[in-house]
Amino acid sequence: MPSVARRRTLAPYAFISPFYLLYALFLITPIGIGGYLSLTDWAGLGTPLWVGLDNYTRLFGDASFLSAVVNTVLYVLFSVCVVVPAALLIAQGLNARGLRGRDFFRLTFFIPVVLSPIIIALVFTLFYDREYGLFNAALRGFFGWGGIDWLGEPSWAKVSVMLLVLWRWTGYLTIFFLAGLKNIPRELYEAAAIDGAGRVRSFRNVTLPMLKPVTAFVAVTVMVGTAQILEEPMLLTKGGPGEATLSVAMFIYREAFTRQQLGYAAAAGVVMFVIVFFIGRAANAAFGVGREK
């Protein structure tokens, strides 16, 4: 029977061990195997054939992969430049003093996150329908013309995916901003008002600096999340037309599971890992997310 003090030293290790066991098995091991596979040519049967860095050189010359990277970068930029500010604005609105029904609004805006992406994508497919969809019908109703080929024309298809991203994630980010805004002491605004600051200046001088930690969290979440975008383009457009909406995650899926190029897919995975992981780490370090104390 170990002493009380000894039990107390060992207990935390025992408590965190289930996590690290799973972590080693289902995260570290796959990353290692992925690294190895990326250096091989393998269709899933027999022994992987060692090819060195061939997959990587092939990747950088692969037009599909490059357009997947460009599309993914566009999605990330859209999230950071449009979805995040939209969420912040909505949160500002929700934080208005004396607003009634705040919880109702907050809940409603959160609903998209609760639903399965397949359901959401299906409804949007109906909306985007060129002849019978609600979007074109609304355009016809308001402007007398609405013949946009939402999912069939390359640039509109990108827009359609982005609109879906906007619809699906804005409410989720809003709750973080709202919680952050509620944490800002009223006195700071009152002090700013006494100093003669208008709405814009107090937003810039009080709200933004005070929201920095939340903004950092939201920005990192959004970047890392959107960099992995898969469901929206896959379910809405299958990456098409052509490869106009293909994302990196979809590219990996396609190479691995429809074309059986497991080594090649693993290489694309490694490239994605390096980019996302370091963006995430750099952003975390810059903003100090998760490191208070």
Partner: protein, 298 residues
């Protein structure tokens, strides 16, 4: 302009005493404008759901019409009866529910245990271990998908439940959330008192800590239930036998079929959304507050 004038009339004198006079008119106009915008957003967020609900009661031919008809006429339950008669809907539902419930139970336990250890013990390597755990959140899912799939195949794992549940029961986000909550919700004095009474460390966790963590446990439970119940990508990869499909896979298979069985898909989507919405509505406050607690802790 006239609406603005009436609003500015003495309706709410001194509502913003501290504001400079010049900013008065936008300040008074603001609440109404805010409501208009927020209600417009509610419409945007709810419309797709209502549309799906309404369309699920339409005849197949009425789903695509021009101009679009908001309400089903005639109203029919045929899509639902046909879905339940021709598709193993309840089988999909059972698989999804079992997977979601088991993963939720296990992951809440694992995360609470680890989160408690990080919050309330001092131990060597804690900082490093925490950083290692935390940075795993930045590992893209798409990266481990291929090798993990290969591993499971090579290890001869054919049990769908194992593949769907086990790799995902210890999300770093959950541990982070639990640590944030445990730090402020579990007073050291309570732990010391229980130790003096002779509680073992694990007994301390189950009898003292878990009850104190209850709100956060609820939040994590909904979060992990929804994640699992709605997940699409991983099941798409590991489940190949239609008899073992989860709900999202089943619905997707209907839609991917040659004829795009939109009528059945809509009925299935509505039914599949019910448990998520119920879960969410029951535990909404805990979920929203719990999710944000970690991010905005001052």
């Amino acid at each position: 302009m006239s609406a603005l004038q009436t609003k500015r009339a003495p309706a709410e004198p001194g509502a913003r005493r501290s504001a400079a006079p010049r900013s008065k008119s936008p300040a008074d106009r603001r609440p109404r404008l805010v409501y208009v915008l927020l209600i417009a957003l509610v419409v945007m967020f709810v419309l797709p759901l209502l549309w799906a609900l309404s369309s699920s009661f339409k005849h197949r031919g009425d789903i695509f019409t021009y101009p679009p008809q908001p309400l089903p006429s005639p109203f029919t339950l045929e899509n639902y009866t046909r879905l339940l008669e021709t598709q193993p809907f309840w089988g999909w539902f059972a698989t999804s529910t079992i997977v979601a419930v088991v993963s939720t139970a296990v992951s809440v336990f694992v995360c609470a245990l680890a989160g408690f250890a990080f919050a309330k013990y001092r131990f060597r390597g804690k900082r490093l271990l925490f950083d290692v755990m935390f940075s795993s959140m930045a590992v893209p899912f798409a990266v481990i998908v291929v090798p993990l799939f290969v591993m499971l195949i090579k290890a001869g794992v054919t049990n769908v439940y194992f593949s769907l549940i086990v790799p995902w029961v210890a999300p770093a986000f959950g541990i982070f959330m639990m640590r944030q909550y445990a730090e402020q919700a579990v007073p050291d004095s309570v732990l010391e008192a229980a130790r003096i009474d002779g509680a073992s460390e694990f007994g301390l966790f189950t009898r003292v800590v878990l009850p104190l963590l209850r709100p956060a446990l609820g939040a994590l439970a909904v979060w992990s239930f929804l994640n699992s119940y709605n997940s699409f990508f991983w099941p798409l990869i590991v489940v190949s036998d239609p008899a073992q499909y989860t709900l999202p896979l089943g619905i997707q298979s209907l839609y991917a079929a040659e004829a795009h069985q939109v009528d059945l898909v809509l009925a299935g989507s509505v039914l599949a959304a019910i448990p998520s919405l119920i879960m969410f509505i029951l535990l909404r406050k805990q979920l929203l507050d719990g999710l944000t607690a970690g991010a905005v802790k001052s």
